[in-house]
Symmetry: C2
Subunit: 344 residues, 2 copies
Amino acid sequence: MRLAIDVMGGDNAPDAVLRGCIDALELLDDADRLVLVGPRELIAEYIDELAKGDPRIEIEHAPDVIAMHDSAAASVRSKVNSSIVRMARLGAGKDGTPCDAVLSAGNTGACVSAGIMHMKRLPGVHRPGICVTIPAFQGPIVLCDAGANPEPRASHLWQYAVMAEVVARRSLGLDKPRVAIMNIGAEESKGSDLVKQAAELIKATPDMNYIGYVEGRDFFAGAADVIITDGFVGNTVLKMAEGLAKSLFEAIATEIFEQDPNLALQFEPIVKQIYAKNDYHEHGGAPLLGVNGVMMIAHGSSKAKTIRAAIRNTRDYVNAGVNQAIEARLSQVADLEKRQREHA
Amino acid sequence: MRLAIDVMGGDNAPDAVLRGCIDALELLDDADRLVLVGPRELIAEYIDELAKGDPRIEIEHAPDVIAMHDSAAASVRSKVNSSIVRMARLGAGKDGTPCDAVLSAGNTGACVSAGIMHMKRLPGVHRPGICVTIPAFQGPIVLCDAGANPEPRASHLWQYAVMAEVVARRSLGLDKPRVAIMNIGAEESKGSDLVKQAAELIKATPDMNYIGYVEGRDFFAGAADVIITDGFVGNTVLKMAEGLAKSLFEAIATEIFEQDPNLALQFEPIVKQIYAKNDYHEHGGAPLLGVNGVMMIAHGSSKAKTIRAAIRNTRDYVNAGVNQAIEARLSQVADLEKRQREHA
């Protein structure tokens, strides 16, 4: 695998990203390559110190940076020498040796824009969506879209279902993943027009194990393997779950400490155990489904171990041929939306 | 206070509702009245057994029931003798002695429809919204809309901000409640057009302590006192928080039990303590803001203690004159939306 990595992306860049790359080397084969995209001197200095002479590391010079708060589309157009744009161009095969995949923990909107602009979309895909695998208590949940497309149309949601279902089969090895749409009621009559139209399309898709609507309360209860929603809801739900889990652990810790400080010591390893089982830093890297290539987006607060896990996950994703499987599946069902429209 | 209560509403009706009403009697004054709306014989039998002769209880006969899965608007039109419709008519002063407030744990959509149809809207209000007070770790959060209006326009969100801010001042006693809009990024450039347009209106509202956007991760971190969002996101977020908290406690309990069963015994009272502090059953009853009167909607899974708390909260809400304050505030800012539109 040849993987281009945005060294300047994320709240803890460049240190956490570079450290994560070095730590990932032990997972890689001799033929694998990590192309570190960012300011050459900064990267070279770091590599000289920690991985000097390792032939698996290459540097792609990108002097410019798109910051976390920069406007997405505008900065991708204007900052052509930013690490995100240079990375996307490597993924598109536009500069030098083409890369099999790209990875960034940087500005999500800019990654999506750069992916669409330079790597282009798979045939027939209207709008790419971010597909996050969430470590939940009953098993992993595949959520799409997690924030690329806050105001989708029904056909976008339908394509997310088609693509994310492939991810659940190929990446998680599920046989017939249960696909559901997020809604504000479980009954067919409930919800917005968007959700109802998307449901019709997904229901009509051959070889799709569509199980209907799930509500917020079912999300973490293992009601579905694949959950489809718009980018606004997906992003909000993801971030809220993170925040709530953190607040809840803090509340428990405070309460324990007030009642019995000794108990707090006993409780600590248990919390660590739960964190380890459900640590999103171990699930780093969410594919942007629908671009023509593999773009992996990592959490903005990625630590070195998140990047290391994301590199491992990206390699597995590339080796499992997920993107090729998505492309094949899309072409299989391509005329469904058109037929539905004619039928309506 | 004269309060009409839908005896047949909710997953645990009629038992939990009737029990909750009886349990609430000790909180009420001699002049207060609970008008129990539902099948007369069923109610009479229950009352004869547990509160015979208490003059504070009256019965309003409603032989029909709107079920939790019934279609909202259609059932309100067709089931004119249902407990929800009869209740709303009492709230509107259309039958017998007018009630100061109505309360139901039944079909939320049907309550909203019946409220709009019979109690009508406050002058200028386009679409009523459900305003939930969430017991969070850093203090209560007022969320609107929690599910009445899944596809609002910007002017609806603006009115939710105006009305929910009054609730935070009057009900929670906050001096200058911090009002925020839920978005998928904290920067002004982020989010949907809906959110941006609503932000412009709220920002331009006099005497409004608008603090900008909050993201999902800030929700439980005490970043704002009042959070405005569409009914789809609001409902999803609420239900997800419930589900996640439950799953998390279960995960902790399982982990503790696996590691040290004795520790589990020590942990139990601590969990109970946290539950008690953040128990939504104690916060029963969310006002439907924007109807001309007080309609309180309780959680579908309300237990007797939820109904008891909802009756107490409704009395406090009525006594604090929240609805009158909302009406006054709405007329104060009524022309803002029009002026903004002309200005644009």
